[in-house]
């Protein structure tokens, strides 16, 4: 079984995606062997109030039980607290996602601390989207750097009770994030080197690694093949492909 923690739905101005309906996305993921996926709205990245597109996503995914929506929150907007309560009440919501660099704030701000307190209280993990694109492939007039790794480590260590899932770290970043904390988990979508998973597990334990494909930005098959080609124990495969996320999100 494969559970994908890193899937998006919507339009992106710099790529043409093939899966323009949730039905097409679901069929594609099934074909790739992915039985459940956590999905965020791409429009929530740029639209000033992410909630508008979070709600559209909730509605669209309602009839697709294998696609679980993840709302994107911007803790610098005045409505975030009420929305947080609203999302938590919506039983399908298992976690929330933030994009500090696209929404232009620092993780060391008071608003982020407040959000972390709420997550701690509700025992909800946080997802940080470190990046959406490789910085060397961005549109030259829209360069958004990845979230500072040191800032993430500092935040996670300050709130050790809150699991923090980091999406799209590079190989060296993933190792640093896990080694410097007890509560950070990383997905494999941007982690790459020769024999990726075997090499990664020489550095960090499988219990801190999650399967994420970053579909539709990346070819889903690339993440699937990283896992399928890895000479690792069945226990580690299960941990990465579904068990870790299952436990983290209390599925």
């Amino acid at each position: 079984m494969l559970i994908d923690i890193n899937v998006s739905f919507g339009n992106w101005p710099f790529q043409k995606f093939l899966f323009d309906t949730p039905g097409k996305l679901e069929r594609h993921l099934k074909k790739e062997g992915i039985s459940m996926a956590f999905v965020s709205s791409i429009e929530s990245v740029f639209y000033p109030d992410p909630d508008v597109y979070n709600k559209i996503l909730f509605k669209k995914l309602k009839i697709f039980p294998s696609l679980i929506p993840i709302p994107i929150i911007n803790p610098f907007l005045s409505n975030w607290k009420e929305l947080f309560e609203e999302y938590v009440a919506y039983k399908k919501i298992k976690t929330i996602k933030i994009l500090p660099n696209y929404h232009n704030y620092s993780l060391s701000s008071e608003s982020v601390n407040e959000m972390m307190e709420k997550l701690k209280e509700r025992k909800i993990p946080l997802i940080i989207q470190i990046r959406l694109e490789d910085e060397r492939n961005q549109y030259p007039l829209l360069k958004i750097k990845g979230v500072e790794i040191e800032e993430i480590i500092k935040l996670a260590n300050h709130f050790p009770q809150v699991p923090v899932i980091c999406l799209c770290p590079y190989f060296s970043e993933a190792i640093l994030l896990v080694k410097e904390t007890e509560n950070i988990y990383v997905d494999i979508s941007f982690v790459e080197c020769l024999d990726t998973i075997v090499t990664l597990l020489k550095e960090i334990p499988a219990r801190r690694v999650l399967f994420g494909s970053h579909t539709p930005f990346l070819y889903t098959r690339s993440a699937v093949m990283k896992i399928k080609s890895a000479d690792i124990s069945e226990k580690d495969i299960q941990a990465i492909t579904f068990k870790n996320v299952w436990d983290l999100l209390k599925l």
Binding site: D134, S189, E192, L194, T196, T215, F217, L218, S222, K226
Partner: protein
């Protein structure tokens, strides 16, 4: 299915044979039949000396001799060097060791006239030239430590000046959609699929604009992984026949391989 990886690097390290043995094991596991070795091109920075070039090519020669059925050598050159050294190195690698191509990186820009003797020699010997390329509007043209990036428009200019030389532009993802359009008018330019993360859609676009015959599978290992880079070909929404061309048949024809 025949799979030839047109873009791999062998690394100068303490145990290069052991490292290559492991690389070949991983490649074979994924059904890859041959690897093109381009050398440890960034080991000595943007401007390697003649001695350093020789050291890089020496290792490629040794590895190809050890695994002649699996490895294909490319001769790494620095166009800043004098003609005699360059021609001697071509003689040593291409004529004596049967390497199949020349690799150029970031020592000079692809428009630089110092490439001319190399290109003329490539034309005379009918061998391919694989040139690094990336979109310089994103990463800049001048490299901080020295050296120059080349982008698809530079490769297009080179192809225009030497229409009889078969050129492989490296890094499909690095050049992006605009890069594909830049080289489209030049039938003597192929593109390899390596570079960056496996961003979706670009293989389909390249097939539509260039035709599948001008696209070559490349991984850029060891910085990348065979699995992930093959995933972009297997995962692309193109015909099976087109995948076969990209994965190996085009490279076989281009390099004149009997396999």
């Amino acid at each position: 299915m025949l799979i030839i990886d047109i873009h791999t690097h062998n690394i100068l390290c303490e145990q290069p044979f052991k490292k290559m043995e492991e690389t070949i094991r991983l490649a074979k596991k994924l059904g890859i039949n041959k690897l093109c070795l381009l050398g440890d091109v960034l080991r000595f920075g943007y401007n390697p000396s003649p001695e350093q070039i020789k050291k890089i090519n020496d290792l490629t020669i040794k590895l190809v001799r050890r695994w002649p059925e699996f490895l294909i050598g490319f001769c790494f050159l620095n166009p800043r060097h004098n003609k005699k050294f360059i021609f001697d190195e071509i003689e040593r690698c291409i004529i004596e060791e049967n390497f199949k191509g020349i690799k150029l990186e970031i020592s000079v820009n692809a428009r630089d006239k110092r490439l001319d003797p190399i290109m003329k020699k490539a034309e005379e010997l009918n061998i391919v030239v694989l040139h690094h390329s990336w979109d310089t509007s994103v990463i800049g043209r001048k490299i901080k430590s020295g050296g120059y990036q080349s982008d698809p428009s530079d490769i297009a200019e080179l192809a225009c000046r030497f229409p009889k030389v078969k050129i492989i532009m490296a890094h499909l993802s690095g050049g992006g959609i605009k890069g594909i359009l830049k080289i489209k008018p030049f039938p003597n330019v192929w593109v390899d699929t390596s570079g960056s993360q496996p961003f979706s859609g670009i293989i389909e676009y390249a097939v539509k604009e260039l035709g599948p015959e001008r696209i070559l599978y490349g991984s850029d290992i060891p910085g990348r992984d065979f699995s992930s880079q093959l995933g972009r070909i297997y995962g692309a929404k193109i015909k099976e026949k087109e995948k076969r061309l990209i994965l190996g048949e085009n490279a076989q024809k281009l390099l004149g391989l009997k396999c």
